[in-house]
Subunit: 199 residues, 2 copies
């Protein structure tokens, strides 16, 4: 008895997606084939086109259809500040705050020695070159506050300060709307250590 190999391959291919296990993959395959064939066709096209068209912006390293993406080419953005993020999703979050009008550099990952991702694999030399263009005055590190994100920020900070650039980091502390009772003690300890003078 031969299994329906085309379906098996679809289920198996769906597992390339992060966070998708065997059961989710089966449910997704069923949904696409039975309930949303239009969506499946749309996804096929979007994947094909993305693979063909998208590349990395020469300036921010984010995904772009052009050599230099629209954000980096925008003369209204403040070229003296460069915000370093791990992924395009992080960039999108910061953009949503509308609290920043400088430029970005997307690492497309983080230092992760256990996974074999060191400064070379992460392409930190390209970040250094970008930050040393003469226009950038301040580099804002907005990597995650995970162990790996912190280690990445630490390494990048050391490299950049050695070149005489001003480096800053997003502040840590109690979230807006957060109650101390429901905040983890590590965060409270940080908020205490990094307390701000009230004028």
């Amino acid at each position: 008895m031969t299994a329906p190999s085309v379906l098996d391959e679809l289920v198996s291919a769906l597992r390339c997606l992060p966070g998708v296990g065997p059961r989710s993959a089966q449910r997704m395959a069923w949904h696409l084939l039975q309930r949303d064939r239009k969506g499946a066709a749309r996804l096929t096209q979007a994947l094909e086109r993305s693979l063909a068209v998208l590349r990395h912006c020469e300036r921010c390293n984010g995904f772009s259809e052009e050599e230099v993406c629209a954000r980096c080419a925008n003369p209204r953005r403040d070229a003296s500040r460069l915000c370093v993020v791990e992924t395009p999703a992080d960039l999108a979050m910061i953009e949503q705050t509308q609290s920043y009008d400088g430029l970005y550099y997307v690492l497309m990952g983080r230092l992760s020695p256990l996974d074999g991702i060191g400064p070379r694999e992460l392409g930190l030399d390209r970040l250094l070159a970008r930050a040393s263009d003469g226009e950038v005055k301040e580099v804002i590190l907005a990597t995650n506050f995970t162990n790996e994100g912190e280690a990445t920020a630490h390494t990048v900070a050391a490299l950049l300060t050695a070149r005489g650039l001003a480096v800053s980091r997003l502040s840590r502390g109690v979230p807006v709307g957060g109650e101390l009772e429901h905040t983890d003690i590590g965060t409270i300890a940080q908020a205490m250590a990094e307390r701000r003078t009230v004028s």
Copy 2:
């Protein structure tokens, strides 16, 4: 400033997948484009091929590359029993138990009046025709034990018994390995009502 529309479309298309919200979709797009372009290409091909090749088996209504799938065409399976399931994933679960060697009928859904899925939309007439082939002696209802699955089982049972077919339902009760203390009272009540005589 124009957004990178190809990427936006990919993120948007990924949201066709069940259970995938805007953030998961962004993470998936990033993963596919940055970390696993091979996987993305594989998924593209698998989707394309599945849409082109897969259809419904004429006998069990499951996905198949042939008119009649290998399982239905297998003469070693017991054609006198027909197990009715909601989805191919449910079928796969039952196959994994290796406790059943009859045939299947896949509803590809369940009755859901609120979503406009009645007996006609679910194609219950095809199930009736299949179960009335003269070979089937017993129909085993293995729809889920959710409200909708139970309603589906109830309706199907009424239709089949009216045609003189023997109809059974998977038993309800305390899960294997389950402790009463951690079992919900509805299940315990069912297990009490449907208790079995110990010989």
